[in-house]
């Protein structure tokens, strides 16, 4: 394992905690921090082992979060390398934003246990502890097979195994074609290889797309409230939380920026995000809030399009509707304790929930709807593969890339060795999850499968 680059990962367990810590370790830790972090007290340099309050802004200068950051100079750190810790708000969106900011910056997402591994490698842990630690390190490299696979009930393991087996069969053929051109082997049948690759591709795709659902269970999901001003978004947030978190007034445009609160439905950790009502406004501050609300749409797992049931649907509502098309959305009709006026909604295919934040009618139905939207199918189908670990997800995405390139190569048979290269890389990826080095017994398979020997 590379121990010289700079790595990053959340150091706190995912969940609904108020504060999360993101940890960076490696030679570039400080420069990475300073690329995006400005301490509010304008001190020129950061002193080691002191906590600074400030703003973390992305490349374009947008605020990612207000954070506390501490820089710890080597060697008096956990890993003995330079370490930076960023304390941010516990919301998954914030953590994800920080992680992707730094990944784009060039830091690598740490493997599970990698900080401990580095601490161990750097000699920070005493040799007398080595026995215990070596078990830990071992668990890390074999972790996929031993631990995480069993955690998901073996379904992922079986899927990965059968994927690897089919790819390996193709690889055996390809390697035989390469190394034994003068033997009478089965013909170079690229069509059967292509079929295998296509199947592997779609299987991998299915597994990777289950990541969202698997992730929702472990990392939580975000729900974004969207609607024109004064329709009752903030009231809905308060009603679902059972607490007066957002300010509610009869003045349209009360919520100026987004507000994010965590709550739990059926054990699913959720983040509910209230936004400024969407409209084209002359008010600069609010239009900034509107822009940010719209920006959040792609990263939300579910949208709640909030419509005031006492008003006729107007252009502004449709403007919001158009923002929601293509993204999972529920239509929420509010204020059902009053007289309904909204009119024809037959154009809209979203599930519709009618609620009153004032009386609480319809809120339970909405809760059930949200719960089954996120986990409903999976819970009823226990055998379905669900990807929960980000590391597995990233490895499989890479695997998918290799398979895609492999199928492009298949167009022309003059590149068998490149095809072998891609399949080997894909198998290496699967091996990172299953803990098996799949090319080990390749030669055995070639000799037991084909009559070779001139």
């Amino acid at each position: 394992m590379n121990t010289s680059d700079t790595i990053i990962a959340p150091a706190t367990a995912p969940g609904v905690g108020g504060i999360a810590i993101v940890r960076i370790s490696g030679a570039d830790a400080l420069s990475a921090l300073l690329s995006y972090f400005r301490p509010s007290a304008a001190s020129a340099t950061l002193e080691s082992h002191r906590l600074y309050y400030g703003a973390l802004r992305d490349r374009s200068g947008c605020l990612v979060d207000e954070v506390m950051a501490v820089y710890m100079a080597a060697p008096h750190t956990y890993t003995r390398d330079d370490v930076v810790e960023i304390q941010c708000h516990g919301s998954q969106q914030v953590i994800t934003a920080i992680l992707s900011l730094y990944q784009e910056h060039g830091l690598r997402l740490a493997e599970p246990g990698e900080f401990t591994y580095r601490a161990f490698i750097s000699g920070r842990l005493d040799l007398s502890q080595a026995e215990a630690v070596s078990r830990l390190v071992h668990a890390k490299t074999d972790s996929a097979r031993k631990l995480s696979l069993e955690q998901v009930g073996g379904a992922l393991s079986r899927e990965i195994y059968s994927l690897a087996e089919s790819l390996k069969k193709s690889l055996v053929l390809i390697e035989a074609w390469i190394d034994f051109p003068e033997e009478d082997l089965p013909d170079e049948d690229l069509i059967s290889i292509a079929t295998t690759i296509e199947n592997a591709k779609s299987k991998t795709l299915t597994i990777t797309s289950s990541y969202t659902c698997g992730r929702v269970l472990t990392e939580g999901a975000s729900i974004l409230l969207l609607g024109q001003p004064n329709v009752g978004k903030s009231s809905l947030l308060n009603a679902l939380l059972g607490e007066e978190r957002a300010i509610v007034t009869e003045v349209p445009g009360t919520t100026r920026d987004f507000l994010e609160e965590g709550f739990v439905i059926d054990g699913i950790p959720l983040r509910l995000v209230d936004t400024a009502g969407l409209c084209k406004s002359g008010d600069v501050v609010e239009s900034e809030g509107v822009r940010r609300a719209e920006e959040k749409i792609p990263s939300a797992d579910l949208l709640l399009w909030v419509v005031d049931s006492t008003k006729k649907l107007d252009d502004l509502d449709l403007y919001v509707y158009n923002r929601c098309v293509g993204v999972p959305t529920f239509l929420i009709l509010t204020k059902t304790d009053l007289v309904a006026e909204f009119g024809d909604l037959s154009f809209c295919n979203f599930p519709i929930y009618q609620i009153s934040s004032k009386t609480g009618v319809g809120l339970d139905g909405l809760r059930r709807g949200i719960s089954s939207f996120f986990v409903g199918d999976q819970i009823s189908a226990p055998e379905a593969v669900m990807l929960t670990e980000r590391r597995h997800y990233e490895v499989l995405l890479f695997c998918l890339d290799c398979l895609r390139r492999a199928s492009e190569l298949l167009v022309d048979g003059s590149t068998l060795e490149l095809l072998a290269f891609e399949i080997r890389e894909a198998l290496d990826c699967l091996g990172k999850i299953s803990g098996e080095t799949s090319t080990e017994s390749l030669l055995d398979d070639i000799f037991s499968g084909f009559c070779i020997g001139k």
């Binding site: 590379n2 010289s4 591994y117 161990f120 490698i121 750097s122 000699g123 842990l125 040799l127 007398s128 080595a130 026995e131 630690v133 070596s134 078990r135 390190v137 071992h138 490299t141 390697e175 390469i178 190394d179 034994f180 051109p181 003068e182 033997e183 009478d184 022309d412 048979g413 003059s414 590149t415 068998l416 060795e417 490149l418 072998a420 290269f421 390749l442 030669l443 055995d444 070639i446 000799f447 009559c451 070779i452 020997g453 001139k454």
Partner: protein, 623 residues
């Protein structure tokens, strides 16, 4: 009664097969007074089995041997009678050279080259005992009663150590059919503490050409355009011949099946393990009952003689069965066998007892190369011989051994495999063994290893100058294709290359990236390029076309090197490192890996153990 020989040598090489010849030549050319001792002076560089050199991965090895200044490439270029490049329709990394040799000419030329080498003495003699003092080899004694003294000994014993020939249920001692076996040496090695194992290999009968009806067989000619093995060979002069393709049939298989009770293999007489990739015909018939025919290339063993080698039909069945099954094949109805096929069992010394320099760990100055290390194949043997010869010479000269990385050559892959992986059957090279296959090509063997050969002292001025010239050309030609552009106004060129609508200028480099365009086409439209050699242009073409893949392999190499560069000091005391299992500790003590990377490739050494060693090294300030 033993007589001490008056002359003291620096390096003594035992055995003059493909390994021994390379070892002796390398050592002598590097300036060491060298003795090459062999059982028979008439069988130097003998092709005991297939009369051919090269093939996938093996051709790669020959190119590497050649780049470092070895002899094999030149020898086959001078004596080859049919050249055929394999996989020409696949990518450059897996194209390989293969050639049939005139067996006698191959042997004769190698003997001549050895006889011309100034510091090299060639003598006939059979070694009975190694002389070792205080853990260092000091010489050896022959059965003829002569004691030869030297600072380093390279053993390349082939199949001769306790060789046992099987033909049917008859067996007798012999190093090859008609030659003596070496009975004393492996006992001597055993007494020195080496673990000795037993392997088996086999060879088919040789058939009389006169008795074969070639009109019934498919003819297989060689290449029209021959690409020589050696970087310094310009042209193949020798007259070329055709090979033929024959086939077994159900009748053949039935004869074989009915005679299995007379096979030493199936009646349990043979204990040695044979090569998986080269099963005998009886093995193939038994293991693949669904195949109703097996192919055999019929290869002439020389320009003049009559002997034909039927590939893929090695056997240890009795001669009458051999004759019967051959005569069941089309074209062989009246065939006469000149030499029957046979199996041979022989002793080898488990190569995990070697350092990466091919020096044994137990006895300083003692090197092993070739079949004694459990390998098979002339090319594998020659490669090890070259490295063992180089390192024996360097040892005498007080220099560090030369060790080639897995990312630098098949030579490196082979040695690393040998010293870290247990031998289960005779080891043969395959391209699939090379993780960095796309980088280890025949066409760039010179770029990978000529400089090393020059540094060692094996690359002479002629080769070196030719190499430098090629390198200059590669650089200059790359510059041209980068800088020169085709614009829409170059109508003729656009039409010649069938480029269709060009919106703006395109560099030749970008054009070359297109799969349908090759360097020859660019040469036609850009006269400046025709000044460069074909080899130089080929390099430019590969570098451009495979840029993405080469880059990805280089990244893999980078990751690999990181652990490779953490060296394990010779005096590391594994007993002092806590928390690693006894089994792993024993392996490390026995194998003494040179780097953390190599340690990680030893079977059974866990990632945890590697981490523990790494931390230990840091604490000791080794790494």
């Amino acid at each position: 009664m033993v007589n001490s020989y008056s002359k003291n040598y620096q390096v003594i090489v035992v055995g003059a097969g493909h390994a021994g010849c390379e070892a002796a030549l390398a050592s002598a050319r590097m300036g060491c007074s060298t003795l090459l001792l062999t059982i028979g002076l008439d069988t130097i560089a003998q092709m005991s089995c297939n009369p051919s050199i090269g093939g996938l991965a093996k051709g790669h090895l020959v190119h590497e041997i050649d780049a470092m200044g070895g002899e094999m490439g030149l020898n086959i270029d001078a004596t080859g009678i049919q050249f055929r490049r394999l996989n020409t329709r696949k990518g450059p990394a897996v194209r390989a050279a293969r050639a049939q040799a005139d067996r006698m000419a191959y042997s004769a030329r190698m003997k001549y080259v050895i006889e011309q080498e100034e510091l090299l003495d060639l003598k006939q003699g059979m070694v009975d005992d190694l002389l070792v003092e205080k853990g260092r080899v000091v010489g050896l004694e022959t059965r003829e009663g002569i004691g030869f003294y030297g600072e380093a000994v390279v053993l390349t014993t082939g199949t001769f150590m306790r060789g046992l020939i099987h033909i049917g249920l008859n067996n007798y001692a012999g190093g090859r059919a008609g030659e003596l076996s070496a009975e004393g040496l492996s006992g001597s090695l055993k007494r020195l503490g080496f673990r000795i194992g037993r392997l088996k290999t086999g060879t088919p009968a040789r058939l009389s050409a006169r008795s074969i009806d070639f009109s019934k067989l498919e003819r297989q000619p060689g290449d029209q355009q021959i690409k020589p093995f050696s970087f310094v060979t310009d042209k193949i002069e020798r007259e070329q011949v055709d090979c033929f393709v024959a086939e077994t049939n159900e009748k053949t298989h039935q004869i074989i099946r009915e005679s299995l009770d007379r096979s030493p293999l199936y009646s349990g007489v043979i204990e040695g393990v044979g090569p998986r990739y080269c099963p005998s015909i009886e093995d193939k018939v038994v293991r693949f009952p669904d195949k109703n025919s097996h192919q055999s290339f019929l290869e002439p063993e020389g320009m003049r003689g009559s002997e034909m080698y039927p590939s893929g039909l090695s056997t240890s069945l009795p001669p009458d069965v051999q004759l019967a099954y051959f005569r069941s094949m089309v074209g062989f109805e009246r065939v006469e066998i000149m030499r029957p096929g046979y199996a041979i069992e022989y002793d080898f010394v488990e190569p995990m007892q070697l350092r990466a320099s091919l020096e044994t760990r137990a006895v300083a100055g003692l090197f092993h190369a070739g079949q004694i290390n459990g390998t098979s194949g002339y090319e594998e043997a020659a490669g090890q011989g070259l490295l063992a010869g180089i390192n024996a010479a360097r040892r005498c000269q007080g220099r560090d051994p030369v060790i080639i990385g897995r990312d630098e050559g098949y030579l490196g892959v082979m040695v690393d495999d040998l010293v870290t992986q247990p031998t289960t059957d005779p080891y043969r090279m395959f391209t699939s063994r090379a993780e960095y296959r796309l980088l280890l090509r025949e066409d760039n063997a010179d770029q990978r290893l000529t400089e090393l050969g020059r540094k060692i002292g094996l690359v002479g001025d002629t080769r070196w100058e030719k190499y430098l010239k090629k390198q200059e050309q590669v650089v200059a030609a790359s510059q041209i294709i980068k800088n020169k552009s085709i614009t829409p106004s170059d109508r003729q060129v656009v039409e010649d290359l069938d480029l269709g609508e060009l919106k703006s200028g395109v560099s030749l480099e970008l054009l070359l990236k297109r799969p349908e365009i090759n360097i020859a086409q660019l040469e036609a439209v850009c006269p400046e390029l025709s000044e460069f050699s074909r080899q130089a242009l080929e390099q430019v073409e590969i570098a451009v076309k495979y840029e993405g893949y080469i880059k990805r392999q280089l990244e893999q190499v980078e990751r690999f090197r990181e652990q490779e560069e953490i060296k394990l000091p010779a005096d590391i005391d594994y007993m002092k490192i806590p928390s690693i299992s006894t089994e792993v500790r024993e392996k490390l003590i026995n194998i003494k890996p040179i780097s953390l990377g190599q340690a990680s490739r030893i079977q059974g050494v866990t990632p945890a153990a590697i981490a523990v060693i790494h931390i230990y090294l840091r604490k000791q300030n080794y790494a």
